[in-house]
């Protein structure tokens, strides 16, 4: 549709004003995080920054023991994203490329599972985790049970997130031409080869979009970690903010700096891979 000049200008004015408003919290976070509390607490937010300093960042890093929490995060997020996509793509392949008795029922189970609020299943899950013994491995599992171990966190993230990914991937795989599998079948390729060498490479765009989205979601997880991790030291970075709360709450600039450190990885990935982020969500919204 062609749009006339004035409505176009009105649209820009509206979007610019609203966009500026939308950026206030994040720009404000960056601005505050470089300023000493002693200055802003007297002059307020809107004042000329006489001093700009990295102190808030180094303080937040040290006080929050953030090196440790980032390490824990990496140990959880990397395997969780890979296993989620691996599991989800296998199920999606099986339900979308073959007809068998329960294929749609299985897909529905996965899709519905991803809609449940995590809090609605946490009571029994917590009890189950308490009762599964684990060997003691430094960093990975130090509590002697599934609760408190990083393996437990990887497992629940995989189990929960595979619902959404299976749904998206199944819809995507359905759109690939059937003839691909048929040709492969005639050539005598096994089901596994069809999955790994034919369907998976063609699913790459959807996998890339989901990998980006899942990285952010698992990185951003707060609830599973808070509920299932025992030692404050073992919390991944996002949920470790909870421990900092008390200490940080007096100095708002320190909180801003801490928040900025925590959101930096997701923001950088977002700015680099914006297309994938948005594509992943759009994939989830559309039917196959």
């Amino acid at each position: 549709m062609t749009t006339k000049r004035w409505p176009r200008i009105a649209a820009h004015v509206f979007l610019i004003l609203l966009g500026l408003l939308w950026m206030v919290p994040m720009v404000g976070m960056v601005f505050s995080s470089f300023r000493p509390y002693a200055e802003t607490s007297i002059d307020g937010f809107f004042s000329w920054p006489d001093t700009l300093t990295w102190d808030n960042f180094t303080n937040a890093w040290d006080r929050g023991n953030m090196g440790r929490h980032f390490l824990v995060t990496a140990v959880i997020v990397v395997p969780a994203v890979i296993i989620t996509l691996f599991f989800a793509s296998m199920v999606a392949f099986a339900v979308s490329r073959f007809s068998w008795k329960f294929n749609i029922a299985l897909l529905m189970l996965f899709t519905a599972g991803n809609l449940l609020p995590p809090q609605a299943i946490i009571q029994p899950l917590f009890q189950i985790y308490l009762r599964i013994p684990m060997p003691e491995i430094p960093l990975i599992s130090e509590s002697g049970e599934l609760r408190g171990s990083l393996i437990g966190l990887v497992l629940i993230n995989v189990a929960f997130q595979s619902g959404f990914c299976t749904f998206v991937l199944a819809n995507y795989m359905k759109t690939l031409p059937k003839e691909l599998n048929e040709a492969a079948m005639v050539d005598g390729a096994s089901v596994w080869r069809q999955y790994w060498q034919i369907v998976m490479p063609l699913t790459r765009p959807a996998l890339a979009a989901l990998a980006t989205l899942e990285f952010a979601w698992i990185y951003n997880d707060y609830f599973w970690a808070v509920a299932l991790i025992q030692q404050g030291d073992d919390l991944p970075i996002t949920s470790s903010l909870r421990n900092l709360g008390g200490e940080f709450f007096i100095d708002d600039n320190l909180v801003a700096a801490g928040s900025l450190i925590v959101v930096l990885p997701t923001l950088v990935i977002y700015l680099l891979l914006r297309r994938h982020f948005i594509g992943g969500l759009a994939l989830g919204a559309n039917k196959g």
Partner: protein, 342 residues
């Protein structure tokens, strides 16, 4: 896809050694994929393993606990020893509606405020932005980035950002704009549970809860925008033009043509709105649960993480959460798996 009944079944023709590719009428089995019964036994075990392992994990950690929540809600248990577990029938539920009535209604109402705010403010705004951006405005990608950026942040960090940057009483953006940063006249945005809207005397919308809801809208708008941008692409442009030629104004075209043809997206957005409002937890917990900001998920977890843990009561709250969610999950599934899609 499945509406075209006679499809070539490669296995059948391969087995029957039909080189001429005779179309074999296959049963219209939904996806039009190959029939499982025609695979070799090793291929069958591969498929079984490929689905069984992920499904077992998903069922064990999502669906069995969901069932467990339901069962445990009929018990009184401290969660330590099995021997202390007692069946108490509906007692937990009776208590929810008597002794803990105030907690339950206050929380349900807070969940409802989030739902209403996202539905009546966040969703229309996101939809409107998508509608404008869909007209190929210059700089569309920049606008999209700005509105979508909050969506990639964790709700917990969003809580911290809004607390320290926007709502800080002594130096926050809001109090600075309003000139209320002095020690005598500060507005304590997150500490004041006074009612903005009162409901039935005892209940209402707290000022501090409203402040949290604003931060949630900030995230929701970008999410909705992306979903509708995808939805608008699928609207047939000839329909719009036809309506415009018939003399419909822009609003009428939107109302009568664009919106109805985006029905699948509307349902996804509705379900996401509801599920988001039921899942609210992080932003409240990370701010140490300000007074008057309880929601259902907080009541559930208070009973595992808190001191006075009662697994039975916590589970009963969980069942309330499950039931509300279940209704919308069915709506979502019916949408996602309807006719042509199955």
């Amino acid at each position: 896809m499945s509406t075209k009944a006679p499809t070539t079944d490669p296995n059948l023709s391969a087995l029957a050694e039909h080189n001429d590719d005779t179309p074999t009428p296959a049963t219209p089995r939904g996806r039009g994929g190959r029939r499982y019964s025609l695979l070799t036994s090793s291929d069958r075990s591969t498929i079984t393993a490929m689905t069984a392992i992920p499904a077992a994990l998903h069922i064990a950690l999502v669906w069995i606990p969901a069932l467990g929540t339901f069962l445990l809600s009929f018990t009184n248990w401290n969660g330590v020893r099995w021997s202390s577990l007692k069946w108490v029938g509906l007692r937990n539920y009776k208590q929810l509606f008597t002794v803990f009535e105030k907690d339950l209604y206050e929380s349900l109402l807070n969940n409802l405020w989030v739902m209403l705010a996202l539905f009546f403010v966040g969703t229309p705004l996101g939809m409107f932005i998508a509608y404008i951006l869909d007209k190929n405005l210059r700089g569309s990608a920049v606008y999209q980035s700005v509105f979508y950026a909050p969506v990639v942040l964790s709700l917990a960090v969003v809580g911290f950002i809004w607390k320290s940057v926007m709502y800080s009483p002594g130096q926050g953006v809001l109090n600075s704009v309003l000139g209320r940063t002095g020690s005598g006249n500060q507005i304590d945005w997150l500490g004041n549970p006074d009612r903005v809207i009162a409901v039935g005397g005892e209940y209402g919308l707290g000022k501090n809860f409203l402040a949290l809801v604003v931060a949630m809208i900030w995230i929701h708008v970008g999410y909705v925008m992306v979903l509708y941008l995808a939805g608008l692409k699928s609207v047939d442009p000839t329909l719009r033009e036809a309506a415009a030629i018939d003399g419909a104004n822009e609003w009428q075209v939107f109302r009568k043509v664009v919106l109805p043809s985006m029905k699948p997206v509307n349902i996804v957005v509705l379900v996401i709105t509801v599920i988001t409002s039921l899942r609210v937890f992080d932003i409240i917990d990370v701010l140490n649960n300000p007074i008057g900001t309880d929601v259902l998920s907080i009541l559930v977890t208070d009973n595992i993480l808190g001191e006075s843990g009662n697994v039975g009561r916590g589970s009963a709250y969980g069942v309330v959460l499950l039931l509300v969610c279940f209704v919308f999950a069915v709506v979502y599934l019916r949408n996602a798996f309807s006719e042509d899609d199955a």
